[in-house]
Symmetry: C2
Subunit: 332 residues, 2 copies
């Protein structure tokens, strides 16, 4: 590997001059600059980031912590972050936490030891004290982790309200909800949106809510049982797209036709939702946009700016597709 000293010797200048040329700062005579540039090109010199990091106490690296990259919601999110950051000269370390506080701590330790400049975090479990302990620029994505950490997420409650309202609009009389895990805030927020609309229309019934755990098979099972017990259910709002697919399966196993006899709507808008038969209506999140903007906010924090506002709430948009394709309300 060519070092800055090799270049300096070859070009008959000092290492300081080479460094100044590389970083375009300080005074350098134009002729000297050209000579050094020529040498750099000729020797194919590429500065050593590690040495630079050691002195500058920064690494041009950020960590992205997600529960599990295999969950179809996260790849797009990760991709958005990675795309944005490579453009800025940053590399991205991937951390799969499985929502395990132990792993979260492990990754935070690793990051700190490597002078990682900041982190974008998706987590329910991360505690305040842990964040304070590692004082490092942090941005929360998809889920809020702390009131003074900049957060980028959709309005889950309003989205859920719209999904529920959509089912009402297309004529559903008895609407059920497949909810995500109790300990996930987003799941609860979506449940609350459903609850609110059902209350308003005097239709809330405890036994129309089942637990789906954000899992397809679990959801299919729960929905099947639900539909057997309450055949009058004609609409299902699932807490995410994966569970909506499960609902689709549950209905199918009973020979119930979607959307004719049962309308189903999901949440998230992952690619998969448009690939199924029937195509799934869903509340679509601007995942890519949220993630690039979260990355942008992190860049600001790293460059020393203080966060202007902490909460960035996006509105999910209704993707009206086949699984709720019934009477379209004309008078609206």
């Amino acid at each position: 590997m060519t070092t800055i000293r090799d270049v300096a010797k070859d070009a008959n200048v000092s290492v300081a001059t080479v460094s100044r040329v590389m970083n375009d700062n300080g005074y350098v005579n134009p002729e000297t600059r050209e000579k050094v540039k020529e040498t750099i090109a000729r020797l194919n010199y590429q500065p050593n980031s590690v040495a630079r990091s050691l002195y500058k106490k920064e690494s041009k690296t950020i960590g992205i912590m997600v529960p599990d990259i295999m969950n179809p919601y996260f790849p797009e999110l990760v991709r958005g972050v990675e795309d944005y950051l490579i453009e800025k000269g940053f590399t991205t370390i991937l951390c799969n936490t499985d929502e395990d506080p132990e792993k979260e701590r492990l990754y935070l330790d690793v990051m700190k030891q490597r002078y990682v400049d900041g982190a974008i975090i998706v987590s329910n479990t991360l505690k305040r004290d842990l964040i304070d302990e590692y004082d490092m620029p942090i941005v929360a994505l998809d889920r809020s982790i702390h009131e003074n950490v900049p957060t980028f997420m959709v309005d889950n409650t309003v989205g859920a309200e719209q999904a529920t309202q959509h089912l009402i609009d297309i004529g559903c009389k008895r609407i059920a909800h497949v909810r995500g895990p109790e300990h996930v805030e987003n799941a609860t927020a979506r449940y609350e949106g459903y609850y609110k609309i059902m209350q308003q229309t005097n239709g809330f019934q405890e036994h129309c809510v089942v637990q789906g755990d954000f899992d397809q098979k679990q959801s299919a099972k729960a929905v099947k049982q639900l539909l057997q017990e309450q055949p009058e259910i004609d609409g299902i709002f699932a807490g995410n797209d994966i569970m909506a697919l499960g609902a689709l399966k549950g209905a199918e196993s009973l020979g119930i036709k979607v959307p004719q006899e049962l309308a189903i709507i999901g949440f998230d808008g992952i690619d998969l939702s448009s690939m199924t038969i029937p195509e799934l209506s869903t509340m679509s999140q601007p995942i890519y946009e949220m993630s690039t903007q979260a990355a942008d906010a992190l860049m600001s924090l790293i460059s020393g700016q203080t966060a202007d506002e902490t909460e960035h709430i996006y509105q999910p948009t209704l993707e009206w597709r086949q699984s709720t394709d019934r009477i379209r309300k004309e008078d609206n």
Copy 2:
């Protein structure tokens, strides 16, 4: 940040002694060791990886290069690698290349500058000279890139043969193939497997092969047209699961029943394939296993061992699901 010198001063020993305690090498008096350990714990000292990297010219970091993490085939692969490596104290840098040689070069540069210890690469485009230029331990995953780079992939041709044979076994008389892009070797290998079986059974016909580009919509369109032109087609082998879903859509749009009138089988065995209605038969790849073993091989290369064998070929296994659920051959 606490440094090794802080610890040394506090414990009244030299930095060398602290280093020896940290790394468990060299001679250290048991009492001294305890004292130093106590100090390390008390000051919560965590060594600086960057300084270590600079001296050792290694970073305990590897890069994983995939075309696009949003392609549902890759998350599991990346997860397998990441899981294995974090266990060994390595972190993983994610690189999305979009199969763009420019980006591949960019990432390789970045890796070199950061003393990245090695890379796991999924690429069709990476050229030999580039690999030689950055002499760095490299392992190829999913696609071979060079004959002396250890490679972990499935036998695409045999898998395709089995898929095609499966369609014959269940009684298909006229079998079409939706193939992936020309420039992707795997797509061609799968085509060849299909071709071979069709030839053997005297059934190969040029016009039963359509281009699907590994894309769902493109595949749906191509399949729809194909089925309109040749209604006698009763089996489709799609070059991957995404295109098989497209085929499902294409059939559905014509009211053709799967599997009764048309059997469809895919390739890869991504999670999605079991979530659809009907569930998709597919040639399933041991993705997670392949990726952990690739990571293991990379570890060996990094620790200086030379690769024992370069090609590690896995056999995909048939997942017989609803989309080909017809006459099951009893006499076999």
